[in-house]
């Protein structure tokens, strides 16, 4: 886990780079990653609202980053991810996701996450998921 430069994590993932994601904070099983509004990410042209899939991609990336920043983690992959969409994100505003890896077993990491736009008090979406968990040194 390249903790010395958190942004290096995103720069190594072509699709996270394509969505112009930015690492805001990373460490100890927690991650905060944001993504700008962009007309190319819009799902419904009538409203200008970002497509749910782009929010999913942000949540998935943030969840994976949280797992990789958990002490001792080496690699991870998403097993399943559920997203609940509370409201449409306001067009033109940046979306920020915060994920927490709140429990790990020998092989599985459990993650929950929320995403908000500039109105931080009203989440745009929440997510929960399970990720594979591999420890450094390969004690599998």
């Amino acid at each position: 886990m390249p903790t010395q430069d958190p942004q290096a994590f995103i720069n190594a993932l072509p699709f996270a780079r394509a969505l112009a994601m930015r690492v805001e904070a990373l460490g100890n099983g927690r991650a905060e990653i944001s993504m700008p509004w962009d007309p190319r990410f819009v799902g419904d042209p009538a409203t200008g609202v970002i497509h749910g899939g782009a929010v999913s991609a942000l949540m998935d990336t943030c969840g994976g980053a949280a797992v990789l920043s958990y002490p001792g983690a080496s690699t991870t992959a998403t097993i399943d991810l559920r997203i609940d969409y509370m409201r449409a994100a306001t067009p033109g505003q940046r979306i920020t996701a915060r994920a927490e890896c709140y429990h790990v077993t020998r092989n599985v990491a459990f993650v929950r996450a929320t995403a908000h736009d500039e109105d931080a008090a009203n989440p745009v979406a929440t997510a929960s998921g399970a990720f594979t968990f591999d420890r450094q040194g390969g004690a599998a």
Binding site: F15, A54, D80, D84, Y85
Partner: protein
């Protein structure tokens, strides 16, 4: 007796309507998603591009790309099913659709099951509307790459249906 509509005209009308629907979703264009149609059956096609990679070491498609592909396919299938009758009866034409784009269903929740690594090649998806009421719909989507029987991801989502403008 009325003559049946010429086959080429039917195909053109349906394909233009589908093109209008999908072409209006910027994020589907951004990901390189297109749709193939046989009758009313749609298959989503995700054309591989290097920018869709999440893990460059394997390499594997980004989980967010897979989730996005499944959600786009679910929304297009649901919208297509919603518009089909109006398109067939002529209440809606590809031209009137382009003038006044149909409102799309809104995702309430979406759960993705990642079954296998997404390989760096094209992917396909088909959605099935399990229930579609006046307000809510439940949709299941399956995605595969080389073999139809070996799914690499599946998802279930719930959607809020747009209210018809004519009430």
């Amino acid at each position: 007796m009325k003559h049946p509509e010429p086959v080429q005209r039917i195909k053109h009308r349906r394909d233009s309507a589908l093109q209008t629907l999908v072409g209006a979703i910027p994020y589907a264009q951004f990901l390189g998603i297109s749709f193939e149609r046989h009758g009313d059956e749609l298959t989503g096609v995700l054309s591989y591009d290097d920018s869709l990679i999440g893990n460059p070491i394997l390499p594997a498609l980004h989980g967010g790309v897979i989730a996005s592909f499944l959600e786009v396919t679910a929304i297009v299938e649901l919208s297509w099913a919603m518009l089909w009758d109006d398109l067939e009866t002529g209440r809606l034409t590809p031209e009137s659709m382009a003038q006044n784009l149909p409102r799309l269903p809104k995702t309430i929740d979406f759960t993705v099951d990642y079954l296998r690594t997404g390989l760096p090649r094209d992917a396909y998806a088909r959605a099935r509307v399990n229930r579609s009421g006046r307000r809510y719909a439940s949709v299941h989507v399956e995605a595969w790459q080389d073999n139809r029987a070996r799914l690499f991801a599946q998802a279930t989502g719930h959607f809020l249906m747009p209210q018809r403008r004519d009430g």
